[in-house]
Subunit: 142 residues, 2 copies
DNA sequence: GCCTATGGTCTCTTTTAGTAACCTTGTAGC
DNA sequence: GCTACAAGGTTACTAAAAGAGACCATAGGC
């Protein structure tokens, strides 16, 4: 690292390391304008991906979505749906029935996230066993 | 929905709708054993992806990672690194220098997540403008 | 002596998630 | 006529998590 290829690093001027090895992250805008951060703040939470996944199969009403994600509360579902709507990923339509029914559906923009999201789901399915094994091993050695 | 193809839904027995339209989610285990949930609880938080992204460029010491992600606190970084280590995505190595230095690097398993994660980053970059536009529009119409 | 750097931990405060009760309006049951 | 229930939320309250900042041991530089 410092010089040569010492595996055991001694004190070095780290600013050089930072410049040399983390360019793609340093190149990104620091905070609020970083697309990655912005997206992860949206879909990275506990419920957004599950909500998108539910709506992927077609438009659904509020209560249907809630039943599809059993352990979400009304409050969190409302909040999640509002957030996704605000970002243009889903659309909300109110029908003047009595009592009124509300339907949520993916927008064209919303559909485009299903592909990268699907890649992640696939990774999760494939590696879940390995992750659980690593977790057990870690907890065992404490 | 209920019968016919009425766009304006009246009261229907929703259990039928649930069964008909949300099968892929209903098919997943309800909570703790769902791979998607499990993975999202890990990498879905605010810092994990950024940490993985930083370590994607090579092994780094604690303080280097911290400087690469400017607004993370030591506490959160420690917690994030521990979590990723526990799940086998990164490895931790302590070198007995004075003061001791600690190096973190992706494991083979950790490297495999970079591809699906990359897809998401690309999506974020591509759609960021559209998302921000949708957000402005939503906030404007309030 | 004092400040710096290492990789953390500990405590405290603030933010966020989650729970449960309530709201409105109309229909159904009794 | 009274109670109950459905829809899609909102509101108040509580539990959990995130974040800020001080502290620790040890050694080197000035």
């Amino acid at each position: 690292m410092g010089q040569g290829e010492a595996a055991v690093t001694t004190r070095t001027s780290d600013s050089a390391i930072v410049r040399a090895t983390a360019p793609d992250l340093a190149g990104r805008p620091p905070a609020s304008d970083c697309p990655l951060r912005d997206v992860l703040d949206r879909i990275g939470d506990k419920w957004s991906t599950l909500t998108l996944g539910t709506l992927a199969s077609g438009p659904h009403r509020f209560s249907v979505v809630q039943r599809a994600i059993p352990d979400i509360s009304k409050r969190m579902l409302t909040q999640t749906l509002r957030g996704l709507e605000r970002d243009g990923l889903i659309a909300r339509a109110v029908f003047p029935t009595k009592p009124p029914s509300v339907e949520y559906r993916l927008t064209p923009l919303g559909f485009t996230i299903l592909e990268p999201l699907g890649a992640l789901v696939q990774w999760a399915d494939e590696k879940h066993a390995a992750i659980k094994a690593a977790r057990s091993a870690y907890d065992a050695s404490n």
